[in-house]
């Protein structure tokens, strides 16, 4: 298992380098320029100067190599400095956002908490509602509960989050006035009152996202449980005189979760990627919003860095899913 992991990590390096290059070229090649949100009142020669100051006029390969160096060398040094109070970086140039002139990693640091809390909670809640629904649907296949579950899951897929999000806002904020529409990223949970506030502001985005996630995962769970219910070992467990709940929740579930857990693991990078639409609707300003904002103004360093981190996460979680598979299923042995 260990050598498998190491080997996969080693092969991931060239893959990721290639991915980073492709992303860089792609983002660079895309139309649009970092000047698009500069007012038209700013004359062309000034725009030209601003581009030069960002280094945006350099050849693309030069910028790519610089980014590589910054990402893999300078930024880790700053990371070490931040943790140990050393000064290895010695003021080397960090990756700086073209739009805000702030180091991209600072932006990521600022945005990570809200993305993780909202999208992460939503994912967790989604999984927590999806599992029982999926299990019960399979256990009572073709019952009305199962039919309703199918319908619910399909509706969850087909209704976009911008619709459900706005609907919730209209009902719970505008009409009823119960919940805030704007997410306060500066809120720190220190006591019950602030915890209550946090819960209130998370309620709607978490609901919207959780429903969306739950729809998909409940489907996977259902089919996986269905498959396992027909297995011989289930009959063995019953023949041993186990209660139905033991049979279902111990024997069947453990096996059914193997594929589901990997699906969940593969879905996790999206948690870090943020939920672009939902973040926008509820003004959460997480990583998703950062990425989309940066794309809109062609803030190449930010787009590149964020996207590359997502790529790393995707590759990592692919690996984690494989390893999880190996851990959960004793039959699978890597190497």
């Amino acid at each position: 298992m260990l050598t498998f992991t190491i080997r996969r990590l080693l092969t991931a390096i060239p893959t990721l380098l290639l991915i980073s290059l492709v992303i860089f070229l792609l983002v660079d090649f895309a139309p649009g320029s970092p000047m698009s949100d500069i007012p038209l009142t700013v004359p062309p020669d000034v725009r030209q100067k601003m581009m030069e100051a960002m280094g945006a006029d350099q050849p693309v390969m030069v910028r790519y190599l610089l980014w590589l160096k910054q990402f893999f060398w300078t930024e880790p040094l700053y990371g070490i400095d931040a943790i140990f109070g050393t000064d290895f970086a010695q003021g080397a140039q960090r990756i700086i956002s073209w739009q805000s002139k702030v180091p991209v990693f600072r932006i990521i640091g600022e945005r990570m908490p809200q993305t993780l809390t909202v999208v992460g909670t939503a994912y967790a809640v989604g999984v927590l509602i999806a599992l029982p629904i999926g299990i019960y649907s399979a256990y009572r296949q073709y019952s009305w509960f199962d039919q309703a579950g199918t319908f619910f899951a399909m509706a969850g897929f087909s209704v976009p989050t911008f619709f459900t999000g706005n609907l919730l806002i209209l009902i719970f904020s505008v009409k009823l006035g119960w919940l805030p529409t704007i997410y306060d990223t500066t809120l720190r949970v220190t006591d019950w009152a602030s915890f209550y506030k946090m819960v209130m502001q998370m309620a709607m985005p978490v609901t919207v996202l959780a429903l969306f996630n739950a729809a998909e995962i409940s489907r996977y769970t259902r089919s996986s449980v269905l498959e396992n219910l027909g297995q011989d070992y289930v009959r063995t467990a019953r023949a041993k005189g186990m209660t139905e709940s033991t049979v279902l929740l111990k024997h069947v579930l453990r096996n059914s979760l193997i594929p589901v857990v990997t699906v969940i693991a593969l879905g996790l990078p999206t948690v870090f990627g943020g939920a672009i639409v939902t973040e926008q609707i509820f003004k959460i300003n997480g990583l998703g919003a950062a990425l989309i904002g940066a794309i809109h103004v062609s803030d190449l360093p930010t787009v590149q860095t964020l996207t590359f981190i997502f790529a790393v996460l995707i590759v990592m979680f692919n690996l984690i899913a494989d390893i999880l598979y190996g851990i959960l299923d004793p039959r699978i042995r890597y190497d």
């Binding site: 070992y233 063995t236 019953r238 023949a239 024997h251 004793p330 039959r331």
Partner: protein, 334 residues
């Protein structure tokens, strides 16, 4: 008094294509310490009969329509699901056909053996573990304590089947039902298991139902044999009787089809032509009539009842369900 007595069992599957009458009016009994062999071709209802006994059939399609299953004199078919559950694994042990898939791949062997011990006998973890080691040693798995912590996939087929037997024996059941326990195994391993069962019977003295299609296996271990065809018991006899004085045309044909290791080699194998019956609808005629060399008009009109051959009470000696009477001198022993 028999440990297990089944009377008039009837099991039906509700399918999209209509009802499948998989078990029709099956009655038999099992004496303490006896090994009852059940043979019959695939689909004849052997497994369904046994699973009906303890409610292991999935309930939307399957439905036990009629019958009594008396375990120690008490009808367990009328028992509540919870009571039935307490019978399963504790008083009736079950070994299934395919050792590769019958064990849960994600739990250790030890955990799976200990489960019934803890549920039915209320043992502590340590006690259960000790008993599990004992059981594994009983079924001949060396180094048992270490093996408890391994997973089924680390065992060979024969060892897995032994584990299944260990699980079935865990709570010292009165009855052990083995549904084709060696079909998937190699001859050499099958020989090991058969040897083991003989040994265990002597040691533990429980009653066993042994399902198989292999007449050779039956010949080696059974006391009494039941032949099933089309969801019915067509013949029932002590093992020697059955092999030497088969009465039912199906039994006779079956005995002829198998090549023998010893003796003369046949130039050509005998076959039973035709297809097994489709079990749709309650039987009104003999299920074997279409393939029967001796079939006559009555076979079409009426489903034969079991009748004693040797004068003993029905179910205790040799009986057959056939309208045709075999000539006395004829014997399958060539």
């Amino acid at each position: 008094m028999p440990v297990l007595e089944v009377r008039g069992l009837k099991t039906v599957f509700q399918t999209r294509g209509g009802e499948v009458h998989a078990v029709n009016d099956v009655s038999f009994h099992l004496r303490p310490g006896e090994l009852l062999g059940v043979v019959g071709e695939s689909g004849s209802g052997k497994s369904v009969t046994m699973m009906s006994l303890i409610g292991l059939l999935p309930s939307p399609p399957a439905q036990v329509r009629a019958g009594e299953v008396l375990l120690g004199g008490v009808d367990i078919l009328k028992a509540s699901p919870e009571e039935l559950r307490k019978v399963r694994g504790a008083r009736i042990g079950f070994v299934f056909q395919d050792p590769m898939t019958s064990l849960n791949p994600v739990f250790t062997v030890g955990a799976q053996i200990m489960e019934p011990l803890r549920v039915h006998m209320g043992l502590t973890k340590a006690q259960a573990e000790a008993r599990a080691v004992e059981l594994l040693e009983l079924v001949g798995i060396p180094d048992a304590r270490k093996r408890l912590k391994t997973y089924p996939h680390q065992f060979s087929g024969g060892m897995r089947q032994r584990v299944m037997i260990a699980i079935a024996l865990a709570c010292d059941p009165e009855v052990l039902i083995a549904d084709e326990p060696t079909t998937a195994l190699d001859v050499t391993i099958q020989a090991q298991i058969l040897e083991l069962v003989k040994e265990l019977r002597q040691k533990l003295g429980m009653a066993i139902v042994w399902i198989t299609h292999d007449l050779g296996v039956i010949a080696g271990i059974a006391d009494r044999v039941m032949v099933m065809y089309g969801g019915q018991i067509v013949e029932q006899a002590p093992v020697w009787e059955l092999f030497h004085k088969p009465q039912h045309p199906y039994t006779r044909a079956l005995l002829r089809t198998i090549p023998k290791l010893g003796g003369q080699r046949e130039a050509r194998l005998q076959v039973i032509e035709g297809q097994p019956p489709i079990l749709a609808g309650a039987p009104t005629a003999c299920p074997f009539r279409a393939r029967c060399a001796h079939a006559f008009a009555r076979c079409e009109a009426e489903n034969p009842l079991r009748r004693p051959v040797d004068g003993a009470a029905l179910g205790h000696g040799h009986d057959v369900a056939c309208h045709w009477t075999a000539p006395a001198q004829e014997s399958a022993d060539a």
